[in-house]
Point group: C2
Chain length 441, copies 2
C-alpha cells in the first residue's frame, strides 16, 4: 500500500475482502521479524520545516502557511511556501548535486548521438546530464504560482465527503524560479523544436522524480508537448534568489508555469519525450475531475482528462475591521491557469448582495495590461485588496470571485463543482466577519 491509500474508504474496501484475523502472538512475531529486517528509514532525509505551517500530513509532508502570511508578500518566502510531497524527500535533496544525474530520453530519429548516455534497443536515445550541464545553459528567472489541485478541499468535503487530504485555501504559493528552459536543454542535445517534435509524433513530456515508495516506484507526471512551445517550462535550481530547498525539489525540479502543481515534478531525474501520457498513478488514476454525481466506484479515470491548467480562482487571505466597525479591509490572492491574467476581482462584504472591484497588484504592484485573447504568459498570481462598508456594525461576510482574461468566472457554490476526488474547488470564497462571540462593538 502507498501511504496515501491509508484512508477510511480504502480500509472499507479491504474490509470486504477480509478472510480472517491473525492471533495476537502471530502479529507480535511478524512485527519482530519486520523490525529485524527493517529498511533504512524512508523519511531520514526530511528537512527541518518552518514552525508556522499548518501541517496536514507529516509523512509524506503536506503543509500550508496561514492565510495572513500567504497574502502579505507577492513572492512567498521559501520557508512559508506550501509543501505538497507525495512520498518521502529523497536523498538527492540532501546531497550537493555533484552525483546528481538527469536522463533525457528522446525518440529515435529526432536527436543525434546520446550525450553521456546510451542508445537502447528501442531506438530511443537516452542522454545523461549533470547538474553542471543544465546550469551551463542560460539562466532564466520567471515568477509562477504553483497550486495544488486539492486546494480548498476542506470546504468541498464539508459539502460532501471526498477522497483526499485536507487543505484549506493555502495550498498555493508564488515564487520567482530560476533555471534553464527545457527547450534550451533539448536544443543543447540536438533535439528539434516543438513543431518538429509534434510532427514526429511526440505528444507529451514525461517526468520522473527521485522520490520513491517502499517498493521503489517513483513519482511521475507529464505535460502536453504544446506547453513547451512558449519556452517557459524550466528545469529550476533556484527559488526566490536562493538555492532550491529540499522540500521543493533540490537540486533540480520542473517548473511548468500555468500548470497544476502535480505536474511540476520535484527532484526530477528523468525527462522523456513520448507519444503517451505518463503511466504514473498520479497522472492516470488521481488528478482528474468528474461530474458531481460520480462516486468512487463509478469513476472512469480514462474518460476524464488529466488536470493541467487550473480554472480561475481566488481567496480571501485576511480581513481587518475598521476601529468604528463600519468597514472591512480584505486582502487575498487570485490566480488563473495557462498564463491567463486575472483581469478583475469582485469583492463583497455582505455575502454577495453587492460587489466592488478590488485593487489588483501583480509583481512590483503592476498589473499586466488587460488585453484579452492574447496568448498570455502571465504565470504569477495577483494579490488584491478592497475596503468595503459592512452591512452591520462589525459584522458581515466577505466573498471574493475573480475573472480571467477569457472572462471565465468562478461558480457560486460547491454543488456544481463537487467531485469525488475533491479537486478543482474554485467556488466563491467566503469568510465571515464578526458573528458568534467575535462581533466588534
Amino acid at each position: 500500500m502507498y501511504a496515501q491509500h491509508r484512508q477510511a474508504y480504502v480500509y472499507e474496501v479491504l474490509e470486504e475482502m477480509r478472510v480472517g484475523n491473525l492471533d495476537a502472538a502471530g502479529v507480535a512475531a511478524a512485527a519482530a521479524a519486520r523490525a529485524a529486517d527493517a529498511k533504512p528509514d524512508a523519511y531520514a532525509n526530511e528537512p527541518t520545516r518552518w514552525s508556522g505551517f499548518a501541517v496536514r500530513s507529516a509523512k509524506p509532508f503536506n503543509a500550508e502557511p496561514p492565510p495572513g502570511v500567504l497574502v502579505r508578500t507577492y513572492h512567498t518566502p521559501n520557508e512559508a511556501f506550501y509543501v505538497r510531497n507525495h512520498l518521502p524527500v529523497p536523498a538527492v535533496a540532501t546531497a550537493d548535486g555533484a552525483d546528481y544525474r538527469l536522463s533525457i530520453r528522446v525518440p529515435g530519429g529526432v536527436a543525434g548521438a546520446p550525450r553521456g548516455g546510451v542508445s537502447p534497443t528501442d531506438a530511443a536515445c537516452v542522454h545523461t546530464l549533470s547538474l553542471a550541464d543544465v546550469q551551463a545553459l542560460p539562466a532564466v528567472t520567471l515568477t509562477a504560482a504553483v497550486q495544488c489541485a486539492g486546494n480548498r478541499r476542506t470546504e468541498m468535503s464539508g459539502h460532501r465527503a471526498v477522497k483526499g487530504g485536507a487543505w484549506d485555501a493555502c495550498a498555493i504559493s508564488n515564487a520567482a524560479w530560476t533555471g534553464a528552459r527545457l527547450t534550451d536543454v533539448l536544443a543543447s542535445l540536438g533535439v528539434p523544436d516543438v513543431g518538429a517534435l509534434a510532427a514526429a509524433g511526440v505528444r507529451h513530456v514525461v517526468f520522473e522524480g527521485a522520490d520513491a515508495d517502499a517498493e521503489g516506484g517513483v513519482y511521475g507526471a507529464s505535460i502536453p508537448l504544446d506547453v513547451l512551445a512558449a519556452g517557459d517550462v524550466l528545469l529550476a535550481w533556484g527559488m526566490n534568489g536562493e538555492p532550491l530547498p529540499a522540500d521543493h525539489g533540490a537540486p533540480l525540479r520542473v517548473v511548468a508555469p500555468g500548470i497544476v502543481g502535480a505536474r511540476n515534478v520535484k527532484w526530477v531525474t528523468s525527462v522523456a519525450l513520448s507519444d503517451e501520457e505518463s503511466h504514473s498513478h498520479w497522472q492516470r488514476r488521481d488528478y482528474k475531475g468528474f461530474c458531481p454525481s460520480v462516486c468512487l466506484e463509478d469513476a472512469d479515470y480514462d474518460s476524464a482528462p488529466s488536470i493541467q491548467e487550473l480554472p480561475i480562482t481566488s481567496a480571501v487571505g485576511e480581513v481587518a475591521v475598521s476601529a468604528d466597525g463600519r468597514s472591512v479591509t480584505a486582502r487575498g490572492y487570485a490566480y488563473a491557469g495557462g498564463g491567463r491574467p486575472v483581469v478583475r476581482v469582485d469583492v463583497s462584504a455582505d455575502g454577495g448582495k453587492t460587489w466592488a472591484a478590488a485593487d489588483l497588484a501583480g509583481a512590483d504592484g503592476q498589473v499586466p495590461a488587460a488585453v484579452c485573447g492574447a496568448r498570455y504568459r502571465d504565470y504569477g498570481w495577483t494579490l488584491w485588496s478592497a475596503t468595503l462598508p459592512l452591512p452591520a456594525p462589525g459584522r458581515g461576510e466577505v466573498v471574493v470571485k475573480a475573472v480571467d482574461s477569457s472572462y471565465n468566472v468562478q461558480p457560486e457554490g460547491l454543488a456544481g463543482v463537487w467531485n469525488v476526488r475533491g479537486v478543482l474547488n474554485n467556488a466563491w470564497h467566503r469568510v465571515p466577519v464578526g458573528g458568534e462571540g467575535e462581533a466588534k462593538e
Copy 2:
C-alpha cells in the same frame, strides 16, 4: 445618433438636456425638408431572409434560429445561421466582388513597397488588394462557432434590466469557413511573422467593415496580434461550401476563430497592424464586462478589457419526453473560447440535484482527444445529448453546464455574472419540462 442609441435610457439622458419643444408646424416643415433631401435608403441592400428566424431587430437585422433547428446539425445551415448586424448590409455584399478592394496598412519598416497602394506621410505602407489577390492564396477551411457576446441576454435582463438587444440562447452558430489565412495574406506582402511584428511594436490587428451609419462611420473592431500566431485567422469568402451570404459579410469577412463574434468583422475593407486597439465605439465603449454592482453611469469602459475569448458555456436546444413520461432526452450545444475544447457536459433533469455526463459529438461525431493544457485549436462547438429519468412523470427541469480543457466551469446563477451591458451570460441553462398545462400523463 447611431441606431443602437435609440433606447429608453438614452432618451432619458437626452430628456434632461431638453431645451424646448418644436411646434407642430415646425416639425412638419422639417420632415418635408428631410424627405426632399433624402439620402438613398440605407437598408436598400438587405437580402431576403429565412422565414424561420426569430427576428430580434429588423433594422439593423438581428435574428436567431429556433433552438431545435440550431442543435439538429453540427454545421448550421447558412440560411439558419444567426445574424447580428450592427448597421445596414452594405452595397459591397450585393456586388460581384469585381470592384471590391481591401486595404492593408502596415507600419513603416516592417513591409516593403506598397502593393497597388500608397505610402502615406506617416511612414505606414498601405497595400490595396483585390478579391482575386486574396483568393489566389492557398484556401483553408476550418470549422468555427461564432457567438454574440449578448447571447442569452433575455435571461440576464429578466434578472435585472440591462442595456442591449434581446437574445435567447441561439445567438451562436457553427460553420465551416473557407478563406485565406491572414498570415498568408500578410506574408504575400512581405510582412514579417507575428514575432517580428510584436518586436516592432505591433499589438493589435484592426479591422473595418463596409457597413456604415448615416454619418459614414463604419463598423470596426480589433483582435490582439497574438491571435494571429496559430495561423487560423481567415479572410473568408466561403461558408459551408457555398459563397459567403450577404448577411455574413460577402464578399470577404474576418473569421477570428475562438474570438467573440463582434471582432469577426463582416464586409471587411481594411486591415491595419497597429500599436493600439480599434478606436471604434464597439471596441472601446461596448463589448466589455463589468462587476455586477456597476451601473451604466459608473461604467468605466477604459478599466475593462475588450471581450475577445468567450468563457465556457452551453445550452439546451430541445427536450423530448419519452412516451411513458419517465425519461427525457435533451440535446444542445457547448462552446469554449480561445480554441479550448469542451471536455465534459453535465446534464440534470431534476433542476441540478443529480447530474450525468452527456454524450458529446464534434465534427463527424468525433470529440477531440481530451488532453488538457495543450494550446488547442478546436474552434467548433460541441453538440451533446443525454437521456435521463424524470423526477416525476412528465415533469422536471433540464439543466446543463459544461467544462472546458482548463476545467473552467459555468456559474450556477445570474447574480454573479449579471452586468449592465448584458453580455457574457454563461450561467447554467435551464429548461422546464412539463409544468403548468403541459405535463404529460
